[in-house]
Symmetry: C2
Subunit: 709 residues, 2 copies
Amino acid sequence: MADRPHTIPGLAAAAAVALLGAATVALSGAAAPRGAEEIIRTVPTTASYGAHLLFLTEEPHQAGTPRNMRLADYVRDRFLDYGLEEVTFHDTPALLSFGRAAAAEVVAPERVALRLAEEPCPADKDSYLYRDPGQVPFHGYALSGEVTAEVVYANGGSPEDFATLERMGVEVRGRIVLMRYSEPYSYRGYKVFMAESRGAAAALVYSDPQDDGYARGEVYPDGPWGPMSHVQWGAILYDWKGPGDPFTFHWTKHRDGVWVEGRERDRQLPRIPSMPLSPGNAAAILKQLRGPVAPSGWQGALPFTYHVGPGPAVVHLKVDNDERIGTLRSVIGRIRGREEPDRWVILGNHRDAWIYGAVDPSSGTAAMLETARALGTALRAGHRPRRTIVFADWDGEEPLLGGSTQWVKDNAESLRAGAVAYINVDSAIAGPRFEAGATPALAGFVRDVTRAVNDPATGGPLHDAWAAQSKGGTPEVGTIVGATDYTAFQEHLGVSCIDMYFDGPYGVYHSQYDDHGWMSRIGDPGFYYGATLARLWGIMAWRLADAAILPLRYSDYARAALGYIDAVEAHARPAPMPRLERARAAARRWEEAATALETRLDTATLPPADLRGLNDALLQVERSLTEAAGLQGRPFYRHLLVAPQPTYREEYLPRIWEAIDRDDREAIPRHEEEIVKAFDRAADILRRATGKLAAPAPGAASGAASMKP
Amino acid sequence: MADRPHTIPGLAAAAAVALLGAATVALSGAAAPRGAEEIIRTVPTTASYGAHLLFLTEEPHQAGTPRNMRLADYVRDRFLDYGLEEVTFHDTPALLSFGRAAAAEVVAPERVALRLAEEPCPADKDSYLYRDPGQVPFHGYALSGEVTAEVVYANGGSPEDFATLERMGVEVRGRIVLMRYSEPYSYRGYKVFMAESRGAAAALVYSDPQDDGYARGEVYPDGPWGPMSHVQWGAILYDWKGPGDPFTFHWTKHRDGVWVEGRERDRQLPRIPSMPLSPGNAAAILKQLRGPVAPSGWQGALPFTYHVGPGPAVVHLKVDNDERIGTLRSVIGRIRGREEPDRWVILGNHRDAWIYGAVDPSSGTAAMLETARALGTALRAGHRPRRTIVFADWDGEEPLLGGSTQWVKDNAESLRAGAVAYINVDSAIAGPRFEAGATPALAGFVRDVTRAVNDPATGGPLHDAWAAQSKGGTPEVGTIVGATDYTAFQEHLGVSCIDMYFDGPYGVYHSQYDDHGWMSRIGDPGFYYGATLARLWGIMAWRLADAAILPLRYSDYARAALGYIDAVEAHARPAPMPRLERARAAARRWEEAATALETRLDTATLPPADLRGLNDALLQVERSLTEAAGLQGRPFYRHLLVAPQPTYREEYLPRIWEAIDRDDREAIPRHEEEIVKAFDRAADILRRATGKLAAPAPGAASGAASMKP
């Protein structure tokens, strides 16, 4: 694919400032950055991306397995080959969970043995996974045990679903609760927790064809959706109760170096057996349920009427998971910054997969390797960026966001002072539809950078393809709150984050079929999107690392915050809640202060020596939106504006949101005051930065950064 | 069930006037009508209703079969037993269609023979229907023939669905088009016509479990929905091109009395083979279709991804229908009116069924027999109503609305002059949820009468149960436009109509399973609703026949007409259309004239001799909303405000609606003028009636009807 000549006709002010600022600073000695972007755009190739992907997906590589350690070596070797600096391993001990054996059968009314393995499909060699009897679809951290009990069907296992069962008089205590993975995504661990906390004996979570199977479209190998035997593996750690404090939980290391399990299981770990099921196996159980007909909305696409039970279907299930302390090995590499080596732009992706993980995460790992190759090539050609770029190949994301969280904790002080932004890519490619989320200050930057690479399908700028699929024609940058490796950066430290991927119909998430066959034939034939993402990621990193002035626009953020205030008021309805007018007024003050600075930056000139002070102020605005105390019961979550719910749905102004949820209305004014203070802190930082800017001077010295595009 | 004492606390003015008017008129010599209503409410019993239903549903009774003739005798004998007068048969020759044989198989890629019969279910003796090899599920009037062709799936077979196929480049010409019965109801005949008019070789119409099967709830015999082998029989006559002109179509009677088929098949008759299919058989075909994945909304609840084809599924089908001229035998009985025998209140229900027809129509036939017993008992007790009540047990509704249409044509002059109202009940009972539709002038009357009977489930007034299920708490009276026996009355003559039934989940429509087992175990165990409907129908008939002043409120109708104007303007969107302000102004004039009369009726007194003139005026208002010319291409449809589309969906101001559909915008002003004239005719009739009313006089003579409740 040829890239069209690089033009910046529609660049928003801040991004243009960033670019031109960099160009001006270049006069003080470094090589021309336009050349850097050209290199970054042309180095990543589909062939090289494909070679990485093939190696990464050759075998299952769960965190803690020898194969995943072997892949750490592969990543380290590539980082070294490509010229990255200070390449190291970051090792973390963590409790890991491995499926050792599992069995399930319907024992009554009609006995049906369930074959838990996913079926092979002849055209796909990887799909013969279960020839190895050690491969068992399982829920990471489910309690091992054996249960025989009547089954109750609880739809998606949400609090509302359990409330419905209660209204219907259907008791789940002592029973096996069968729930479905839901669409949109809701964290499976919270489903199991709901069942456990209501006294269930065990949980089963299955994939309904309505959500990711034949009712959505063609199933693999004919199409992207999940066939009848596919199983969604996954961890069910109660991670909202942590996370990771410590990742060894109730295990401790004795003097002889041996890890010993404590007597009481950590509260983050489930206390009932649980197992994922294929739609086919769920059908065998559901078909034998009676009792009330499933309420409206609970019927899925299996070919019979769903009932909630209890029984008469009785299931016997056996979960045998091996929990042991293992090592998470993240691979870290850098390109040291030319002028501000202590200011970091971090790129991250996890390496560990549930099985082959072609989409999740190896498409991202392959892209990161290509991005590293691109930036390393630029470095060798003399393009060293102003700031440091850190490459982080995380381990243990799937079980517990382990590698990234621990690295953030271990580097908290450096990151608080110097993290410019964290750009995460988890599953990079599941189709051709670009999606991005960001801390709102970076939304405009993300949009602008997508003008610099082309969309494989249209051949035109990715920006335009993205805009065409968005409502209103402006590319939609989503809100991000958690569920992957940016969580610790954004929620714990207040670092500005970006998360991005190419999406598409994808029904084989966390199953055997998320493999090289799926990706090469269905998800990204020819690997055009993989190479595109590598280019985009590289240019994003370069611009953030090399910009004279960081493209953080807090006027956008303040306007987003006004939307958060609306959202939290809506969340309170229909119960009465005083309108958060003080918070609104503070957000407007923040917006004004940000706008004043941004207007000034369009016209002011600034000696290079002042740039660092200005940029530090911009970094600290995001930090100022956190408070050390964290959320009630979840101290890790320190951000005042957004947090993930345990289901990973977003919540806004989380302290107020959760006060509403626990009906503690009296706490709301206090929490509003905290928000007001945060907004005023942010505004204050921006005002002081504005004050330090020189007024526009005609004929500014050529050694100064011109702010005007 | 005990009825509570009859009170009329909340009666709307017109209905109260009707009652009290009658009471006052009684002073001039007849027996007390309150006694009549008591009799009518207490005579119908669940036992007697159940006995009728059992006899009626004992065997299949399609129009034209000996069994349906035997049931005509049964109805006639009951009418005579119960004391009805002038009991006669009304016979009509009509072309009828009978399934003689049918076969279908998938011949490629994988051969699958289809078993067309519905499966027996052990608990239900009637479900062994197909032990008689002469029983064949079929489409009435489908062309006989044999076709082998590739299949295309066309979703619900609507014009939009065929347009989608065209956009996709999927050609239906020469192919077999597989469509699904749709929910909400859309006439199957129009689906087949769509396929035929696009060159299809044949049509298959199947029941998707999403619409009436397991995805809706329990299937028979465990619940009300359709099992996998159920088939929806039904006629596919292109009746919007007629109807019935004549019902013998291209057949003519020779001098020797033999009917001979003409050379050219009538345009109302399909010219391709067609067949209804069970979900199970449709699955066998759909599963083997490939080509594009079915567009959004086309996927049903069968357990695989739907494709549109064409092929590779190739189906061979053979339709062998026997078309012959038979006799439709409607049974007519009367209770002659005491004072105005030429003014008729007509009650109608059809007798003919596709198979056993427990819901459709025998629940209505059994109810009519109980209503006849109730009114006959009242008559014998001396309660002869002011006007004539006509009982009509129609034949040939299922194939072609034959009996009712022909009777209307044969009695058009008497009906134009003297029909007060027609109250239709088709399928009386499919569950416990009361539903009613009416010409808007009768909506208030229908609501009021439901206060006079009790709802079996709540024990309180049916009115209140109905209100509780309606939005806003006011019982919702629907718009009626066609699809059953009131069509000729309302659409051709402009007679005010009511159509009512108890609805519920019902997935066995027109299948073998719509039988006594379904009704007695699922639809109406104990037959409480059947008896309730008989009571309601009887009281409605009595009040309309005996009211001093007819409860026709045209202020309600004029307000409804304003809504029709809005609806037709909305139908034109997004294309520009001048607003129908002249029609709106005329509707407001009509509303004013109606309100003036209704206000006057609340206070005026009127000598009995003037009542007939007033009532005739009220009748003629509805008539004035028709024009002899009828709709373009459908001259039978003469009503200016409502008509059925060929799908049986409603259309408003049909001349304008259809002008929009054929993009003939220039015709709209002319048609608006016709509407204006009709509204002005209506207003004029009402104004003249108001003018004739005497001003309120203190101490009016006791021989006069007091209008004030």
